[in-house]
């Protein structure tokens, strides 16, 4: 190799050589884009509109109810914009989302001029107006899935953020200090590993009065750290007697500084790999919980809850196919990223490829 940059620059160079891993990264980027632009892709609220002389962006209401301009509640729009805008202010104009469909309710007849009502029951196979079909209540599946992307992404990042923090902390403390501290942290890790995750999640969700998607994420994070802790502990055990750590100690660095500034950066690459795989499994856990009917309550749209709707009528194949493929591709993408990361950062695998 000609010029060798830092460790991460080198890892990125190796990572870029893997087309599948790059495609997976691009896919996750696409998901982020879809999640951020969800109200502009599918919705029944204008992205931007001029009403009674002022500009509004009612589509923000999809992110947070309170962000929907109050004037539309006052003027009794009741969520249906096209007709109301025209009736109440003939001068108004609006930029509409790409697909006029709502993730939470069915679109009624003539709500969009000249369009029939969404088909309900098992009639709603995919069509021009309903790209991915509709569910039993007539709600558009495409809109549901576009808005569910946020949940899928957040679940991965938030829960693994929590799990990563706990895991690294517990593993680092156990590995660095050793002795009885290590015995204690290893025991705790083993106990958490033995508790059936499903009992823990179902019980905590049952205990909470109003479980939200955030609770689910926190619980997945609080149970998913054991593997990370074990790996971190191993890395810290291996590195704590390395020469550079001894040098830091001799220079007078305290344990916290050694752990965070000296050991952790060197242990980070192997720890990042299980975290990436963990994102994939967090998405799996969330969607299977929603699938079993323990997901976030409506109106949070989750891919898994669309699958749950399909269980009552399997002839509606589109309720299985589209969310199923979406979950599969997302899980696959994270697994491919994790694998790419592993190959890019593990020097032993690197030698093997020569």
């Amino acid at each position: 190799m000609a010029t060798s940059g830092g460790f991460w620059a080198e890892a990125w160079r190796r990572y870029r050589r893997r087309p599948l891993a790059m495609a997976a990264l691009a896919f996750v980027g696409l998901l982020v884009l879809v999640a951020a632009l969800a109200p502009a892709i599918a919705g029944t609220k204008p992205v931007l509109c001029r009403y009674k002389g002022r500009l509004y962006a009612p589509c923000l209401g999809y992110f947070n109810r309170q962000w929907e301009p109050a004037i539309f509640t006052k003027d009794r729009f009741r969520g249906t914009y096209p007709q109301n805008l025209k009736d109440k202010d003939p001068e108004s104009w609006a930029i509409w989302p790409l697909v006029f469909q709502d993730p939470f309710r069915t679109v009624r007849e003539n709500e969009w001029p000249g369009r029939p009502e969404n088909p309900a029951k098992d009639e709603g196979r995919p069509s021009r107006t309903n790209l991915f079909g509709t569910d039993q209540a007539g709600v558009d599946v495409f809109a549901k899935m576009v808005h569910g992307t946020t949940v899928a992404l957040l679940v991965g990042f938030v829960s693994m953020g929590i799990a990563g923090t706990i895991g690294i902390l517990v593993g680092a403390i156990g590995g660095y200090f050793g002795g009885w501290v290590d015995t204690l942290t290893s025991r705790v890790t083993e106990i958490v590993m033995c508790i059936p995750t499903l009992v823990l999640i179902l019980a905590i969700i049952a205990i909470l009065e109003k479980p939200t998607i955030w609770h689910t994420m926190a619980i997945i994070g609080a149970t998913g750290w054991t593997g990370i802790a074990r790996l971190t502990r191993g890395e810290f055990l291996r590195l704590k007697n390395a020469e550079f750590v001894m040098a830091a100690r001799a220079a007078g660095a305290g344990p916290l500084r050694i752990m965070l500034r000296h050991i952790l950066p060197n242990a980070l690459a192997p720890i990042l790999v299980p975290i990436t795989f963990g994102i994939a499994s967090a998405i799996l856990v969330e969607s299977s919980l929603s699938f079993l009917g323990f997901g976030p309550p409506p109106p949070s749209a989750s891919w898994g809850s669309v699958l749950n709707d399909a269980r009552s009528n399997l002839s509606m194949w589109w309720l299985v196919f589209f969310p199923g493929v979406a979950i599969f591709l997302t899980v696959l993408a994270y697994n491919l990223i994790g694998e790419g990361l592993q190959e890019a950062t593990d020097p032993r695998l690197r030698e093997a490829r020569k």
Binding site: R187, E190, I191, M193, C194, I195, P196, L198, V199, L200, L202, A203, I204, A206, I207, A280, L284, S287, S288, F291, L292, L307, A310, R311, L314, S315, W317, V320, F321, G324, I327, F328, V331, L332, N335, L336, E339, R348, E351, A352
Partner: protein, 328 residues
Amino acid sequence: MATFLLRRLLLGILTLLVITCFVYGLARAMPGTPLTAQMGEDPSRKLNPEDQERLRRIYGLDKPWYTGYAQWLGNVARGDLGRSITRKQPVTTLIAERIGPTFLISGTALLLIWLMAIPLGLYASARSGTADERATSLLLYVLYSFPTFVAALFLQIVFSVWLRGTPWELPLFGMTDLPPTAPWLARAADVAHHAILPVVCQTYVSLAYDSRFIRANMAEVLRQDYIRTARAKGAGPWRVLFRHAFRNTLIPLATLIGLSLPGLIGGSVIIEQIFTWPGMGRLFFESIRERDYPTIMGLTLMFSVLTLLGQLLADLLYCLVDPRVSVE
């Protein structure tokens, strides 16, 4: 060896105490009791307040959770797992009823996995880098990322809905459609027919994972110096693969076998739930929904014991296949 086992036993008991105490507290903290959960489903079974109070006393639900836990613990120490509140049967009977169906699925799946994963893993490392190997590996990777419950729904749609009326139709759910009076051969065939889809679902993910695992370990071993030596002295490619390389991948394999023990008997909640298969996983799910504390606790205890035993088994297998490793 004896001190090692004793140490593990004591630590294991301590772990079990913490886990069961924690799960019991959690279970009791869930809103509702077995009595209210039953009434919620069926209004005709609503009890008047005096009867409710009487039942609460009988089942010890009027006492705080730690008293209940101490009682449960005392019974377990005497070998009694208690009686299910909602099903009016001893927990051991319930478990005995469900263990067979679960084992039928997971045992068959495990057998299939090992019968296929080892040849697949060896094949992948023997033909490493060729086009067919890369295609197989990619396919396995894709399968590994395919969520089981999605696969189960896809299979149900294809085999139970689209192929309905053809000889390829497979039953949607349940374990058997025949009455218990039917001849046993017909019943066995019917159960096997019902088991096909659950077994396929439980097999494919682990198959993909395990064969990749074997492949990865083989890749590690094949880089060692003694493999080069074996090749240099003229051993054929298959002989190198089997006699020299594969034997040395048995160590990590032993760990994997040990860790698959809890799943073998614990079953899979999701698969059993989708296919309404009357196994342990489904019992677990139902008992949580019914707030049936004795069953929840009995199953938790069993799963935890199995997990700990699996870890112990993995460690012991480790010593068995690698004489350099000692438990001491």
